[in-house]
């Protein structure tokens, strides 16, 4: 997904989003590997964020990390990502289902047995009918972002997409007592991942088929008591919750979780320092990092790697970067150490040349755009080679608009490239648009964007989530504001490999990942992007918070911390 704090970060303060690779040398505690729900119970976890999650509060529509972090402990899916830190946190475990079934019929039929006795926060017991109704609602509401791209593998979904209001998935979902059977149109190696994200969290069948203003009752240990976008979110305990799986849905520690809105990011840092808030959702601004590094606060700061890549996309259909040599030249010239400095330093960002982030399925370190390539790591720019390539490309002197948004870090990154391109012989100028305009703007081919900033965070741990969505031929929608393949990169050979990897992944994920690594390498060689760095994420907690857990999927697990 696109990063979440476009629109929630204060315009006038830097947002230093950072990511660290695993095995970082940061002195603060990093992710732990065991899940724990044995912290002290009680109290109120007070968190702060600059603004409410943008978009509809409806769990089947909202696509922000900010709300997802809260939905995971108010609702459940059939399966879940293990609620723990480290690599364990990317494993899928059964949640509402008793166990993870093996699919039959060539991977197209999945039968889940729903646990008995689980209740929603309105007292009603969960049944198979709720499951079917949830998936039908996904289409009925009409504005679920991924209904047509992820969940259209369910049989009958295509008809639902055409006539959403009368969606009937009886063809694709059959309910037999507490057994629910899904029939898919094709085998989907990511089907379980898709069931583990909030779009597929089970809601009561009685939930109306239009966007709700506060998430409906769920089966998790907490329930939504208040959702006032200009004031706060409040979650309280679900009285009907009984823990059935500590791996999938542990009971939470605080009694109440609040997220207050309206403070600037600087003010949030001060509040956490003063103990007036326990955690801030936004990243601390650059000028507070020194303070936070000091011995006074260091033990309250946690830095973790993110499976995310920040990049500038070339438009491979637009001169001058429709020329491969030009693109590769710019890649060789880019001083990724400078970009890392802009991001907040090597402790907060790791340079990269490729698409996939470290520790991601299919990731094999690969960096051709450095001095002395071969180790897979970026070390230094190679200006001589760069100049050679650009001279050979014949694109020198071309006017380039470097597109970015007005957020401080992104603008600084853009300015770096303006300087670099001018040094290389182009005529570069900066085009900084307001953040909410910039992202759709650069996707629309009729804007003829040449070189634009963007970033990407995983939806779930699958290589296709990066490679296919951002660089696949099917992700190009001409003249639309919704065309995530910003580079307009479409290579038939590479696409065939991606499809092949998808096929292989149904039965043999390990081999598939080897193919994805090959795809990553080949795409990087074609240089549709200048991949910049993989950021790390800073969690700053107040001194009274204990039991910090960082999940690679959901980041800070709020309800596992304790404040007593």
């Amino acid at each position: 997904m696109k990063r979440w704090f476009v629109g929630s970060a204060s315009l006038l303060t830097a947002v230093a989003l950072v990511a660290a690779g695993c095995g970082s040398s940061s002195k603060s505690s990093s992710s732990q590997t065991t899940s724990t729900s044995s912290g002290a119970q009680g109290g109120t976890l007070m968190t702060v964020a600059n603004a409410a999650p943008s978009g509809s509060p409806d769990p089947q529509v909202n696509y922000t990390l900010q709300e997802w972090q809260l939905l995971i402990f108010t609702h459940d899916g059939l399966v879940a990502f293990k609620r723990t830190g480290g690599k364990e946190g990317t494993k899928l475990v059964p949640d509402l289902a008793e166990s993870i079934p093996k699919p039959t019929n060539g991977g197209k039929t999945w039968t889940f047995t729903i646990r008995k006795g689980i209740k929603f926060s309105n007292g009603k017991t969960l049944t198979g009918a709720d499951v079917k109704a949830t998936f039908e609602r996904l289409f009925k509401i009409g504005d679920s972002p991924n209904a047509g791209t992820w969940y259209n593998v369910i049989q009958g979904a295509d008809a639902c997409l055409k006539t959403p209001k009368t969606c009937d998935l009886s063809q694709g979902i059959t309910v037999n007592g507490n057994k629910v059977t899904f029939k898919l149109t094709t085998a989907d190696p990511e089907w379980l991942d898709k069931l583990a994200v909030p779009f597929a969290f089970i809601l009561p069948a009685s939930t109306p088929a239009k966007n709700v203003n506060i998430p409906p009752p769920g089966t998790g240990p907490y329930m939504w008591a208040e959702y006032a976008p200009n004031k706060q979110i409040k979650l309280v305990r679900n009285p009907y919750f009984k823990e059935w799986s500590v791996d999938a849905q542990p009971k939470g520690n605080p009694d109440v979780i609040i997220q207050k809105f309206g403070l600037t990011v600087e003010a949030e840092v001060t509040q956490v320092e003063n103990g007036q808030a326990d955690w801030m959702f936004d990243q601390p601004p650059a000028d507070r990092l020194g303070e936070l590094s000091s011995s006074k606060y260091a033990s309250q700061v946690h830095v973790n790697p993110l499976t995310s890549t920040w990049y500038f996309a070339f438009n491979v259909n637009e001169p001058p970067f429709n020329n491969l040599k030009a693109r590769q030249g710019v890649n060789f010239a880019t001083d990724r150490a400078a970009l890392v400095k802009i991001a907040g330093g090597p402790k907060l960002a790791v340079p990269t040349c490729q698409v996939l982030p470290p520790n991601f399925p299919g990731y094999v370190p690969y960096c051709p755009y450095t001095k002395n390539p071969g180790s897979g790591k970026w070390t230094a720019p190679d200006l001589a080679k760069a100049q050679q390539l650009i001279n050979a490309s014949g694109t020198k002197g071309a006017a380039v608009k470097v597109n970015t948004d007005t957020t401080d870090t992104d603008k600084a990154l853009g300015l770096y490239f303006v300087g670099l391109l001018n040094k290389l012989g182009y005529k570069a100028t900066l085009q900084a648009l307001s953040a909410d305009i910039q992202y759709p703007y650069i996707q629309n081919s009729k804007n003829h964007v040449q070189f634009a900033f963007s970033d990407w965070f995983q939806d779930y741990p699958a290589a296709s989530d990066f490679l296919n969505i951002l660089l696949g031929c099917n992700s190009i929608h001409p003249n639309s504001n919704s065309s995530p393949n910003i580079a307009q990169f479409c290579d038939k050979g590479i696409q065939a490999k991606m499809d092949h990897a998808g096929q292989v992944g149904i039965t043999d994920p390990t081999s598939a990942n080897k193919i994805w690594a090959q795809v990553d390498k080949e795409v990087t060689d074609q240089a549709p992007w200048v991949a910049m760095y993989n950021p790390k994420y800073i969690d700053f907690l107040s001194s009274r918070v204990k039991g910090y857990l960082f999940s690679p999927q959901w980041y800070f697990l709020l309800d596992q911390a304790s404040v007593k």
Partner: protein, 312 residues
């Protein structure tokens, strides 16, 4: 007045939709929607209808059915949001206005009284420093001092965390929360008004009626305050009408943002940042309303200040 409001709303509407890259249906659809979703939303919100119809729909939802929803977050109903934000802005602006009016009059009188000594230039320099500083900087520095660096000292430990407490909930906390914002906001205006007042007072001192008052044997203070001040206040009052109108209508955006006050200014700021037309429209109308009212009020006050001005 209605004409002004109508014209403003139409212009706001047109400017919004003339901005390239603006796509409310995509905004409403959230992140990375597929094109079909975007089309569905477009239809749902009437964004595929012609401009005048969209305008009429929005006005209807704003004034008549009062169910206008924000483009940024669909749980945010615009009219209740403004209603709950209004008292915050009133509290901030009233308090600051009291401070800056009293302060400016005091400083202006002082500057005139002590003209010729070092006090006049000193006050002038202070006044000018006040108006030359951007409010966001001033507010951040205030926070840096009161919330962060000196928070634990005796001077500022009483400063509560940033935010707003309604007067009806806890008057004392309401007051404490607002003191620093009041001072910060008033610093911006005191200097301007004091300078203007000083200039007007100095002009007026040569008028006949002043000489008459002095000749009558009235004390200097009496002459200054009861005779000179009134007619020197015309500029003062004009500016006050303009500033107060704008501030109450949401003009103190940066002050509210820096101090975490959930007022109309903060709504305006957030809506501009995310190009949220319904909220922008509502705040613009809200602001225009107060501005036009203050404008009319000021004209009435002129006549009371300087009886020679015949009413319009």
């Amino acid at each position: 007045m209605v004409i002004v409001l109508f014209a403003i709303t139409v212009m706001t509407f047109l400017i919004f939709f003339a901005t390239p890259g603006v796509d409310p249906s995509r905004q409403l659809a959230g992140r990375n929607p597929d094109p079909a979703t975007v089309e569905a939303i477009k239809h749902q919100f009437g964004l595929d209808r012609p401009l005048p119809i969209r305008y009429a729909l929005m006005m209807k939802r704003l004034f008549i059915s009062r169910d206008l929803v924000s483009y940024g977050n669909q749980a945010l109903l615009v009219v209740p949001a403004i209603q709950s934000a209004a008292p915050v802005t009133f509290s901030l602006v009233f308090g600051a206005a009291v401070l800056w009016v009293i302060g400016a009059i005091a400083i202006g009188l002082l500057m005139v009284t002590f003209k010729g000594t070092f006090i006049d230039p000193l006050l002038m320099v202070l006044a000018l420093i006040g108006i030359s500083m951007p409010v966001f900087w001033l507010g951040e520095v205030a926070n840096l001092i009161t919330q962060d660096r000196l928070h634990d000292t005796i001077f500022f430990s009483w400063v509560p965390p940033l935010g707003y407490t309604p007067f009806t909930q806890n008057p004392w906390q309401w007051f404490l929360h607002l003191i620093i914002p009041w001072i910060t906001l008033s610093i911006l205006y005191i200097g301007f008004y004091a300078r203007v007042l000083r200039a007007n007072l100095l002009e007026v001192q040569n008028e006949d009626y002043v000489r008459t008052a002095k000749a009558k044997g009235l004390s200097p203070r009496n002459v200054l305050v009861r005779h000179m001040l009134r007619t020197s206040m015309i500029t003062f009052v004009s500016l006050f009408g303009l500033d107060f109108g704008v501030l109450v209508g949401g003009g103190a955006l940066l002050t509210e943002v820096v101090f975490g006050l959930p007022g109309v200014g903060q709504l305006t700021y957030n809506s501009l940042r995310s190009l949220d037309l319904p909220v922008i429209m509502a705040t613009v109308i809200y602001g225009a309303f107060f501005i036009t009212i203050m404008s009319a009020l000021v004209d009435i006050v002129y006549a009371r200040l300087d009886p020679r001005i015949r009413p319009a």
